[in-house]
């Protein structure tokens, strides 16, 4: 299934008495790269988990085009790619085995070619058979990015994608994210790297204590606009 938009309508999520998200409303269209900014614990990862259908909102609704997570089920999940803070990789398996497992789980054809391409994109072709446990954080991050994009998702959710990456890898990832936007994907990313976010995102929003505040577009650097939008 394909969808042209991702819409959060009055989404609230509570954990016991703590409110992680409060009446969040946001629409992201196809081909749009949206940066989700905010301090630690602001609710960014919770919002991404809700978009990934892993967490249900306490109230409110998330729509993927016309579908919801409950109605579309596996067909919808096949179109979602999530890079989470935890990298979803098996440390005992090699880089190639990890990618192969997820490629098969997502029912993708031509697994060998797909895995080889992903390993080249991650710069890990020469270490394909080494266990992930021996990789540096940056190498794991690059592999996890490829894992999240292996099945060509329509909705790409990236939680702190620049973590642990060197300059060259950050630039390569920025190019990759821009290319995803041009290809019609909906990209929602969280980051504390405002320069990197500014380079790829057409729009930015900030979460402050669970509430969503839009950041006005303008010629001034994103950092300044972000500071104006988020109270101290």
């Amino acid at each position: 299934m394909d969808f042209e938009s991702l819409t959060f309508s009055d989404v609230t999520r509570t954990y016991g008495r703590r409110r992680a998200l409060h009446r969040v409303s946001l629409t992201c269209g196809a081909g749009e790269v949206v940066a989700l900014l905010g301090a630690n614990g602001a609710g960014k990862s919770t919002l991404l988990s809700i978009a990934a259908t892993l967490i249900e909102p306490t109230s409110g609704e998330v729509r993927f085009g016309q579908a919801t997570g409950r109605t579309a089920g596996p067909a919808l999940r096949a179109r979602i790619g999530l890079l989470a803070h935890d990298l979803y990789l098996y440390p005992e398996l090699s880089a190639a085995e990890n990618l192969e497992f997820f490629a098969r789980l997502y029912r993708r054809g031509d697994v060998t070619h797909r895995v080889d391409t992903a390993l080249c994109a991650a710069g890990l072709a020469d270490r394909r058979d080494e266990p992930v446990a021996g990789f540096s954080r940056g190498m794991r991050q690059r592999l996890a990015i490829e894992r999240a994009l292996l099945h060509e998702p329509r909705l790409v959710l990236l939680d702190e994608p620049f973590t642990g990456l060197d300059d060259r890898s950050v630039m390569a990832l920025q190019d990759r994210i821009s290319a995803l936007g041009r290809a019609g994907c909906i990209v929602l990313l969280t980051t504390h790297d405002l320069e990197a976010a500014e380079a790829v995102a057409e729009r930015a929003v900030v979460l402050t204590r669970g509430r969503l505040v839009p950041i006005e577009p303008g010629p001034t650097p994103l950092r300044e606009r972000y500071r104006r939008a988020s109270p101290a």
């Binding site: 988990s49 990934a52 259908t53 892993l54 967490i55 249900e56 596996p74 067909a75 919808l76 999940r77 096949a78 979602i80 999530l82 989470a84 935890d86 990298l87 979803y88 990789l89 098996y90 440390p91 005992e92 398996l93 085995e97 497992f101 997820f102 098969r104 789980l105 997502y106 029912r107 266990p131 894992r147």
Partner: protein, 226 residues
Amino acid sequence: MTFLATVWLVVRKDLLVELRSREILYTTVFFAVSCVLVFSFGFVRDGQPIDGAAAGILWIAIAFSGTLALGRTFERERQSETLRALLLAPVDRPALYVAKLVGVLVLLLAVEALVVPLVGILFQAPVLRAPWTLAALLVAGTIGFACVGTLFAAMLVRARSRDVLLPVLLYPVTVPVIIAGVRGTAALLQADPDAAMARAWLSLLVFFDVIFITLSLWVFEPLMTE
């Protein structure tokens, strides 16, 4: 991807991970063997075991080592949050439950393959008297124990005190399975074996298995959605 293809894919991955680390197999086998050895010091006097002790000790070793295996199996999926990656995949979520169940079963059956002869030797139990009925009792009992355990272990994977909660929740629910396993095995191992009684307990175990598996498949998906 069909249900069974998903099950096979996840089981194969789990076995490959276990083959590389051998962490769960070694700890589970070591625990089960230690358990049987310690009990043998208490329940065998002057070379004579106490009547009916072998069946109880066999099932205690299975239940305790099974709890250990269940906890470790899901701890592994929690470390890199790979359970969430599995739940995000476009597969039937009950297939993930069945795959985890099969993985735990393979592990426990491997442990039983070692523990049963050990109990036979240390407690002079005639484990080869009715091997197929004994095997059926062990398989049916292990399925009953593991299917509830797999559900609870998956459910508790994000709970802070999961190591305490798992046995607290698991043992009361699986008491009927353990009792049926012990009584059925005891009927086979006693001096005057009662095959009819063993088959009756086996039927009860199969009944428990059907009930527990059906309930687990039904509630797995809603329980795993946060």
